[in-house]
């Protein structure tokens, strides 16, 4: 009987407290797994340095985060979405449909994307976008003809590269990183090798040619990694010939097992990325739901804390971890201060 009583009372307590405690006190964040490390650093520091509770930061990818962000306004929706890409029109449409009309865009800095391989593996030390395209593109230009990629070794198309089998571990399509890899490496390589021009000459429209350029071979030569960089690292460690795509911060944390390749002759460092010399980088963002400012305690304070000079500046903990700080941080600080929203119409 006592078991029954206890059960009944526990249920009652749970039910009462569930209705009483719906007022959320912590900031809720979700989105890009690239931004997650930075957001968690800031969230910890925010909890340590202010009297607000530590925000909850979830992962899941930029697109998934923005989708949850656009689900509506209210305590059951997230306050901030992290994203490794700018917000798209389709995201904004979804937001508008659900009444999320005022969105503040905050750019926190830049992230470099690097090509790295086993430290004792073949000498993959210098790549050009054309090399990556010739190795991984589904169709490439050989002797003036557009053909299905025949290359099996890096040395097949560039004698300076090692005569080792081509294997590459690239981010899966749900990652924002994939888009940057396609736009800034494959597409550039496609144009440089003349493959794109040849495709268009053969009667393809520009859009079709671009789509053909960013198509990868698959078939075990390119492997999509849908998980985190730790998965890519594990695959590289198991495969000496493998080349993997990583974020700069992840590479810098694992320099004892990875070596990085230059791109276009430039070594990826926070300095070369900040200066714009290293070609493969992208801005990182988070988006704030303005309707939640003043309703959920700490939303604006967290955003201000995040982009303060002490945190996101060149000497702050984020730069320490691998974020390339934004030279225009002051403008972003002003945006948050005045709660300037995106023009969504």
């Amino acid at each position: 009987m006592s078991v029954l009583k206890m059960t009944a009372s526990t249920l009652a307590i749970a039910a009462i407290s569930a209705t009483a405690a719906t007022a959320r006190e912590n900031v809720q964040i979700a989105g890009s797994s690239t931004v997650l490390p930075y957001a968690s650093i800031v969230a910890e520091a925010f909890g340590d340095n202010t009297d607000f509770p530590t925000p909850v930061v979830e992962s899941g990818g930029s697109s998934a985060g923005l989708k949850r962000f656009c689900e509506g306004v209210g305590e059951n929706t997230i306050d901030i979405a992290n994203s490794s890409r700018p917000i798209r029109d389709s995201d904004i449409e979804l937001c508008l449909e659900n009444g999320v009309t005022d969105i503040i865009e905050v750019r926190i800095g830049y992230d470099g994307i690097v090509f790295a391989s086993q430290i004792d593996g073949p000498a993959y030390t210098a790549f050009e976008p054309a090399d990556i395209f010739n190795a991984l593109g589904a169709t490439v230009l050989v002797d003036g003809e557009v053909v299905a990629n025949p290359h099996t070794q890096w040395a097949d198309f560039n004698a300076d590269l090692p005569a080792d089998d081509i294997v590459a571990f690239i981010p899966g399509t749900k990652h924002g990183t994939r888009e940057v890899f396609e736009d800034k490496v494959l597409l550039v390589g496609c144009e440089e090798t003349g493959a794109m021009a040849a495709m268009m000459e053969s009667g393809m429209s520009e859009d079709d040619a671009e789509d053909a350029c960013i198509e990868v071979r698959g078939n075990g030569i390119t492997v999509d990694i849908d998980g985190d960089y730790t998965e890519t690292l594990a695959r590289i460690e198991a495969n000496p010939n493998g080349v993997g795509v990583f974020g700069l911060a992840f590479y810098e944390n694992n320099t004892d097992s990875l070596k990085v390749a230059t791109m276009g002759g430039v070594e990826p460092t926070t300095e070369t990325i900040a200066a714009g010399d290293y070609p493969v980088s992208r801005p990182l963002f988070f988006f704030i739901k303005q309707a939640h400012i003043g309703v959920i305690p700490g939303v604006k304070e967290f955003a201000q804390f995040f982009i303060a000079d002490e945190i996101a500046g060149p000497d702050g903990p984020l730069a320490q971890y691998g974020l390339v700080s934004d030279p225009e941080l002051a403008a972003t600080q002003a945006t948050v201060e005045t709660e300037e929203t995106l023009d969504v119409n």
Partner: protein, 435 residues
Amino acid sequence: MTDTSKFTSLKVQDPRTKKRNAAEKRFRAYGIVAIAIGGLFLAALTFTIVKSGLPAFTQYVMKLEVTLSQEQFDDAESQLLKTAVYRDIFIDNFSEQLDANGVDVEYDAAALERLLGKVGGDIRTHYRENPDDIGQPTTFQLQLSSRVEGYFRGRVTRDTLVDSRFLEKADLDIVDVLRDAGLMTGRFNWAFLTGKDSGVDNPGGAGIGASVIGSFFMMLVVLFLSLPIGVAASIYLEEFAPKNRFTDLVEVNISNLAAVPSIVFGILGLSVFIQFMHLPQSAPLVGGLVLTLMTLPTIIISTRASLKSVPPSIRDAALGIGASKMQSVTHHVLPLAMPGILTGTIIGLAQALGETAPLLLIGMVGFVAREYPDGVASGFLDPNSAMPAQIYTWAARADVGFYEKAWGGIIVLLVFLLLMNAIAIFLRKKFERRW
């Protein structure tokens, strides 16, 4: 007439008997080999887990005595990033510390920053909780950075160390001197057992404690919901329900539910408990509800099995002396079936304890386990993680220090699972009845 040539001596095995005996021996050998292979896997697994996980239970610290003045405290508290200011005060104090200990070593502030972990938070917490220590010399044991810890553990050596902004080879010389002077030592890492999750740049500060509490509250929900519901459902199905198409359908579906992948329950939890019922995200209450759904079929199936194993003669005897159906169940059948029910429940709970997939969808995976709940309601409703979710989160982080923490977390999780299974075995042995 009998053909005597068919009969041979009993003492000499004929070819067919030999064959049968040999087959029997082989059959036993297969079994032994199977057990040996299983044992080998178990040994390899245990060895790997213990070897990789033990480092998480030790911690390397730097002893440092500091006197913080009231002005320094006020100044630090007026800054935005207070924790960094506290850390810098300590680094500035370091040379006095060396003089006091008679240690002579070349260093610069940047090197010290690389050696120390994220200690600002601990220092600030100490002074805010013990304001009397301001102005008094206070000894701190400050966490070292994960790479220096790796050096102490042999994971990082001068040969494998690649100069980076996280640690340079020259820094290890400073470490050697300080270690020999007794300023850097190892100790048991209580913070790992009692601590909370930390940011990705602070592997040394990460602990599993908060997520253990999260798991605990989830298990409370699972226990107090799935046990009564499961037992009531099984008693009705087993003792009272008429045998017809409908109850057959219910039975088949319970078995089907037990085989549904757990992520499906996560999706259900997201759409029903969070989006429809508006329960809070990342809350152990919702996690518990989702895991209840997952555990119910297990409990119902094992409860029904143990009700079935109570001999019908017990029921008949009870009914025969005039007990009602309900009295025969509550006075006789249920108490006899109790050990089986409890065992099934504990096994179900243990299964739920190790489950990550459904928690992914209700927001319990990520940077969540940051606060200890400050009461029962807060324990159910405030964002928290669970042990397996915490381990999953750590394993995905870039710093190798977190990888060790993940293995350490696995040890803690396994200890809890072993404990629960031990309780199940104990209950079974203590209350088991044989007929």
